[in-house]
Symmetry: D3
Amino acid sequence: MKIRMINPNASAGMARLLDAAGQRVKAADTALEVIHLPASVASIEGAADGVQAAFHLLPAVARGQAEGVQGFVIACFDDTGLDAARELAEGPVIGIGEAAMHAASMLSVRYSVLTSLPRSIHIIERNMRAYGLDRRCARVHAADIPVLELERDPAHYQRLLALGRQILEQDRSECLVLGCAGMSQWARPLQDALGAPVIDGVQVALKWVESLVGLGLGTSKLLSYRAPLQKQS
Amino acid sequence: MKIRMINPNASAGMARLLDAAGQRVKAADTALEVIHLPASVASIEGAADGVQAAFHLLPAVARGQAEGVQGFVIACFDDTGLDAARELAEGPVIGIGEAAMHAASMLSVRYSVLTSLPRSIHIIERNMRAYGLDRRCARVHAADIPVLELERDPAHYQRLLALGRQILEQDRSECLVLGCAGMSQWARPLQDALGAPVIDGVQVALKWVESLVGLGLGTSKLLSYRAPLQKQS
Amino acid sequence: MKIRMINPNASAGMARLLDAAGQRVKAADTALEVIHLPASVASIEGAADGVQAAFHLLPAVARGQAEGVQGFVIACFDDTGLDAARELAEGPVIGIGEAAMHAASMLSVRYSVLTSLPRSIHIIERNMRAYGLDRRCARVHAADIPVLELERDPAHYQRLLALGRQILEQDRSECLVLGCAGMSQWARPLQDALGAPVIDGVQVALKWVESLVGLGLGTSKLLSYRAPLQKQS
Amino acid sequence: MKIRMINPNASAGMARLLDAAGQRVKAADTALEVIHLPASVASIEGAADGVQAAFHLLPAVARGQAEGVQGFVIACFDDTGLDAARELAEGPVIGIGEAAMHAASMLSVRYSVLTSLPRSIHIIERNMRAYGLDRRCARVHAADIPVLELERDPAHYQRLLALGRQILEQDRSECLVLGCAGMSQWARPLQDALGAPVIDGVQVALKWVESLVGLGLGTSKLLSYRAPLQKQS
Amino acid sequence: MKIRMINPNASAGMARLLDAAGQRVKAADTALEVIHLPASVASIEGAADGVQAAFHLLPAVARGQAEGVQGFVIACFDDTGLDAARELAEGPVIGIGEAAMHAASMLSVRYSVLTSLPRSIHIIERNMRAYGLDRRCARVHAADIPVLELERDPAHYQRLLALGRQILEQDRSECLVLGCAGMSQWARPLQDALGAPVIDGVQVALKWVESLVGLGLGTSKLLSYRAPLQKQS
Amino acid sequence: MKIRMINPNASAGMARLLDAAGQRVKAADTALEVIHLPASVASIEGAADGVQAAFHLLPAVARGQAEGVQGFVIACFDDTGLDAARELAEGPVIGIGEAAMHAASMLSVRYSVLTSLPRSIHIIERNMRAYGLDRRCARVHAADIPVLELERDPAHYQRLLALGRQILEQDRSECLVLGCAGMSQWARPLQDALGAPVIDGVQVALKWVESLVGLGLGTSKLLSYRAPLQKQS
């Protein structure tokens, strides 16, 4: 099974982290390729960055589709360009934000999200509302650590742990969703320390794409996600 | 990986169908056992049937937990006894109703549900609202075929196909969710005929439980799903 | 008029308290019988307990129906087994949770609920959302007192009073709903002390069942609450 | 117990009908007085009529309060002036619209409303949303019969019956709420003919006000419904 | 263009403030007349006051309509009598509450409201929910300053400023909506001090009414806002 | 006052139509410039087109901001790139979709949208839900006419008129929102023919941007719409 995970920013370092996480959990017969987008923004911190990233994402999805990729993961918690990517792909396309939030609502009655920067909160809240999953979410918090810092400085773990404790307590939440692909590597130690599920959307999205492809399920091409129209010139 | 799928009614025949579906799609290293509950109701058609089924489901979950089962699928589209089962299990517990509806909302912008009997509609609608997934659902329809009839008479396929066509058209829906475990075997032919994703929650739930167990994720035991309290006597 | 109030747990003591409350407020021509379910759980603290209780509730409703009972009160704030009970009864069936919350929304613009244990909060919140009454509810709180303790130790009143004061203040609420049948006896003194309506669902549900029966209104048997189907054997 | 039902329009004829309905169902020890407001509009058909009626309603409530009235029913399905009336009363004040809709949601999973004129639909829908009860309502319909016609021409019954049949069918509803005080007298025959609960808010509101007064419950005076402030002059 | 702004209370002083604000921002060719209602309540603080004000508002709208007024502003943040006024007018009728909240949701992702008295909060919240704009509102706060005090004592500015700072911080809001016509004069200095948009509905409503009139848009007279029916006598 | 209206597709013809509409209704002292984006897609029909358009929109907004533009209109009914554009602008940025829907909810109790292509419906519905304005919208319809056809063939007017009639009737709507910038020129004749407000967001958005700029109101730069972060290199 041919799966592609796209890190929609320009960070090769983050792609390596994602690749490490993905190769560890993928099925034996999955050919997983993790790519980043060198022409995209260095990191996605807000809506304008998201527009840049989505623009560079689309040809990568189209290329994947042409190369026979059967399912895609979009590895940014903002689910950047998700609907547009679905127009270009036949197989399932899952964003790590939606994957994590759907999973959280099957493992707990109430979850909280911890993302990197405060300016991303409204984007996550808007997605969540579109998915309907805001009803199960207590609140979206920001650690106030830039995305690339997360990747560069593992010492941020202590701050995430302290915040996680405080959030579960204050929000009466029972599950923590990590709101940034760059936090992926800390999901397991945080879960062990907090005694509650800590969800990394990267891993969940990858496994769910594998699942759906394996079951013969893909993106509906009936109307909304049909391929873009060719324009009259 | 030890997974148990529980058909919460008393039908051995339906359990055999579920087992066939499950064995076909499970991972190689998954030990899947599909059980039914001989003391339960013959089929779950309404809330009183659901109470009976949930009552017989709980000891089966407790026994599974004692036997080292790592994840459970509840194979009734009403997600019968789901919250209660989560109190007894450590691993993930997924209902086929929720699995199908979560999947539908990642493969389409708008889905419809086709269940067996009209009296189940309000139960499904209530669950859907609790999950937040009503926003993406156009409508829940009933084929008006009793659950056990579905299993016994494959000729019902033609009726499901005709209804499926009509529903996608009238509801402006882009994905069809099969709202009864007994429809599982028709998911693929319906999908091929309708040209839109047709989702069988049995298969999706099984694969997602496998995914979550594999990632080390289980039911949050922090509060709401903690084990039942021992009573003072 | 023949009314039956069912305490769906096994506590005879709580049934006696409920009986005392009920006999005091019932209409002169109401024949009220309060029963408990000796085979049920000692108290309902969570979803698994609720499944047990609902299972034992159903034959009690069926028996009542056969004996000519015209209306039922389910005396657990979780409204345990409510939909299932309605399938078995012809007359109205009201849960004390719904009664209290409906009343609160006609006496105030914003109410809060104070229940016994934190693990019950999500059950009440889910019911409330199904009824639509979450819009008027500020928050559900738990006193963290086990149900049977409430009944056994009247000294808990002081704690409820302190919590009630704090809740109205912090939530900007104008009405307090007592979220446990075992708090029934303290409704009046709390109301006098707090200077705001304090609602005990036991009394409200009883009077409303009387009202509806008196007006010739019963449970709709048109579809969703129709009697359970007889199964093919 | 001293209860006053206020018909907020100027129709003495409608007040007589309401009085007949009320005297028939009230408790033996209830002193029920039904009044109309001669200076008000002839009937309440839209928001401007509602403002007129509310204006004339307030002194009637204030007078009732001064005369020791313990509970009020506002007998217009629009629940005209309800919040304002609550500022003036100590006891419960219930509108027939809210009473009927709350009752419907305890007797069925899904109800429809049949009111007199199309222009009232948006007012009822707005109230319903404020109460949270829109989730249980399929749709609000209008018979397109002016309010006073209803009262004058009993031949309208056949039209209501035909509409009721059609509405329950088309809306998949299980309960019919009569959306106008002037339809009160037809609740019972419609219920008998339709085989589903048909709810007249006049009777329900009266019985519920009796219930709440009897239980010592009144309008919260903590903040929002506090008596109007005296103005500096 | 002939525009009338109606202060629905009896305060000539507030009308003068409104007139000053309006004349400053109106278009050159707008003939703006600001009136107050001498027979109305001195200030609108709660629902009963609102009923009085709406009653006196209606003839003023009818008179304006007869005099050729092309658009109306209702200058009370509660949007007193708004729906009723629309039945009497042909042109647009905008309340300052709705104008401010609509504007806030186009200038920020999340706004808070600061009104005068706590008893008005539930009225504003109910309107907001009817408009759909509650989703973007963090919370409605009250400065606890009576309406006429605001007008009389400019020293209240310091209190509003301190509250504004605290509200933006605590609510994670990005825009402050002034919830009382009497705060109009402080919008600009507050905005300069807070570094975030501070919205005065008086000015926005006036400009928007001008806009809509200029574009040939008026109140829909198709059904709900049709002129009140003439009554049979 | 310097206002820029951006047609985010590549059609110079549509920009000319927008310019004609804008120059006709702008204030005398407004310097309005209407631009299109030659490198963008020919028309925006779906999410992938939207990503392209948003990408080309951002430098145009940045340039405008640098040139002293005080307010922006985004002239695509999908409100393409709206949040991202707000990060780049200091003044107000209004999309024609949101403007039309906000206006509709102040002129009617219930509106319908008529857009060009069915595949745009879900995008409009998602925006509408984010704005909260779905509560007032009956339904979004598509005329099934490609965007550029609208512009090229004025004969489409008859089809729009017939659809408008049918929509208002079937949806019980009282206001029609034109869901495509290319329909702008038909707003007035449709309004005259339908006897109900027909709203063209192009004109409304322009006037409202003028209004907000004139009142000194701009986009909140407090957090979510702050300028994009400069990346570390």
